[in-house]
Symmetry: D2
Subunit: 266 residues, 4 copies
């Protein structure tokens, strides 16, 4: 009945994900400027985050919405990572982007809308860096696990699954966080599983409670959106925690991780 | 950002639900016999459960399936409650059953398939005992909260909401536990909210993990199915915990409840 | 590959439903007044409707919304049916209502939210009048067909299935009309199947197109909402056809019914 | 109330889609061999199909399933098209495939799992050939229409929308055909809309009924899977019509198309 330890761990920027410790990945939805990214990175590090997240290219429903800074941000991203001694997880939406950001990231993220983009997955299977595979928002658990094999079959075993909410009839929240899937995947796959409570609920005031639930259900970590001034965010401000929210969340999260015998990484 | 305490508590069999302590309701899906019910009741009490659950009449998709013992069980139910000094929560599926079991129960349960049965809800609004209102498996959070007003408007303020999983496209688990809804309802309604992880996932090996998540997300309690020999259960054996599973679950649950400052009732 | 004729027909007010002809049931969502009901009844009859629909008691998400005229409408309903020589289909939401409206209706309707109300279904199984069983908005086809057995097992074989849209992630329309289910039920059940395009889409401008699709897919009839002045309707005005819309729809529907060899009843 | 004619038509292989006539695209799920493709092409042409479909590369949930013949089929595809004087619609799953099959197809298809693959859509926006954009199986109508703008904004106005079923809780059918979405898109977008009943229901015996419904609801055409011997098909045999099924379907479809004033192309 107890949560089995993952049989496989994945090293991201020096942190073992899937082992005895809980990992926190935090940062803005989109990287918007040097100042915004640096302020966020310093803030989340101070509160105990282990790895940075931040979008360079954004997939947007409308072609008219902000699409990310792209290559103009590469230089300052390196600077921020060096200044804070943290590494970055960022999304690739096209196989051609892999090479472009290879030196910038410690893990490639595949977004929910690309979980079925098997061309992209195969390309990532040829890389030497880990892959964070978000569940498609309408993908069966089984399809999600099978999609990971498009990566691992090409020779890259370092895949981390990420539950980020599924699309249901409910409209009060952005998506429906499916922690059944986390419990199920932990018992039926050797891969580490983390949770993105920010996209899963879409309401910043509810993000910490769902992060706590993720820790209690047996996830190996979380990936959360933080912005110094969410109201000014160029994307997804509704779900971003402020630096102070994040700091408060981390204090309670630490207690829960300890209670479930999966303490936060130091 | 912290979970606000419920502004309203409901007393069930001497336990305040919605206050500073976490409540555990446990027992079989169906009450099948004096021996089965007594063994289960004694077992869950020993491990720390506060209130019993057990079905007298069952709603079944097929009219040919076991429909519950009905009135033939009334006498021994009283005996079991007396012997264990516990009270019972049980479902009514028809307004005519309210009077029949009035003296047997400390709380009436309205099942998921009856959440929209407004005639039944109004009738329960005229009673002096609390009502456990399960969310319809396809009900919006808003419809669930509004359904509670069919009870409270008739003069009975003692309603407890219960999230029990919603119907989604996922088929690996019985339903999809919606903890977003628990976090949302806690912030947007004064009513206590508990979670039924058994129906929500339908796989006994995953029930404890989801119970832990329920405690961490801020629920006021859980209601779980326990059977001495799940393989022999007349209904829902797949999701029932054994008495030993339940005992193990309670030990870890206690730690998490303490970590989130909502310790188990004594 | 061709649509098999239903092996069972149900006579409602003189019209065989499930046989070689297509049946149109029309009328207001709620019966609001003698004048409103008479005007609607005369209008739909002129355009070719066979049977009237109209709510006496309404199930509403909020207990504060209009709940129907109830018994105060009984007398004028009889008058309208006599004046137009039509019969009425109306919903019962509680077993106690069956006797109250027994003489008013030619068929009892069980609404979507009561499909799982097995007490009510069993009670209807003891009656001599047909039952229109709407699909629960989150019910599997299999559960819908099985629910009909709660009626037929009690001795009343006269059940008509009604698809009325299911709840999905889509929000542009009120529900998602599931014509797969109609094709499936026609091939896998002996019961007649009709379609309610009004609730299924919830937008009056789209109702006729979906009524045409229902005829083409092989349904035995439709049940549609019509109101002389939809903007003044006390419930569901968004989805009601005007009398003129209805008249136009019937002309095209007639052609399609002829093309699929299931002409409208005379 | 009448279905408005599309304000825009798209010419595919000499047939105007979106105008006064109904278009039928038919062929195998996967192109498996010269013989299989030729036999299918000749058969569907004889029964009145206008354009061929057939997969060259297949997206499969499992990386171990048949992935399509790829480039080894190019030569014989040209031969079959020439012999039957028909053109081919085929799916691209990666931007690099566009150039490879440019001369083989009269229209590029974007599959359901790639609807959100905006890199691919932008690349198709730079081409001179039309694009068939299947709805993501969990995409809102609004997201589907907005995805088409990723193509049109790049300069290619020739997009045809294709409804192919959405993912819901229902499991008796493969997906749930959403004809509400067809009616809605026809009234709210200038693009032609066609329907894929094969993937939408996944059961060959039900495909014709849903094709008829598609014609009645106002779609501009259908795309259906046909295989000479469905039991031997390398993919999706469950939903393929035999050549004889297809022939029968076309006879009834012709009557319905005439009844709704959108006769089949000659």
């Amino acid at each position: 009945m107890q949560t089995s330890p993952s049989t496989q761990t994945v090293n991201v920027g020096g942190f073992e994900i899937g082992g005895p410790n809980f990992t926190v990945i935090a940062g803005p939805c989109s990287i918007e400027s040097y100042d915004q990214f640096l302020e966020t990175a310093k803030g989340v590090k101070t509160s105990g985050a282990h790895i940075l997240r931040g979008g360079i290219w954004k997939m947007r429903t409308s072609s008219k919405d902000f699409q990310g800074l792209g290559s103009s941000s590469f230089d300052f991203i390196k600077t921020v990572c060096k200044e804070t001694n943290m590494t970055l997880v960022s999304e690739v939406t096209d196989a051609r982007q892999i090479e472009e950001i290879y030196d910038l990231v410690s893990m490639f993220q595949v977004g929910s809308r690309n979980m079925h983009n098997y061309s992209l997955l195969k390309e990532l299977g040829k890389q030497k860096k880990p892959v964070l595979l978000k569940r498609g928002f309408a993908a069966l658990i089984n399809e999600w696990v099978k999609a990971s094999e498009y990566v691992t079959n090409e020779g890259n075993p370092n895949v981390i699954l990420c539950e980020r909410g599924i699309r249901t009839f409910e409209t009060a929240t952005r998506n429906t966080l499916d922690l059944n899937a986390v419990a199920y995947a932990k018992k039926n796959s050797p891969l580490p599983v983390i949770v993105d409570p920010s996209h899963a609920v879409g309401i910043s005031a509810l993000v910490p409670d769902l992060a706590f639930a993720a820790a209690a259900v047996g996830a190996d970590g979380i990936i959360v959106e933080v912005h110094p001034r969410p109201k000014e965010a160029l994307s997804d401000g509704m779900q971003a925690l402020t630096l102070e929210n994040f700091s408060q969340m981390m204090k309670k999260l630490e207690k829960i991780c300890t209670a479930v015998d999966k303490p936060l990484h130091k």
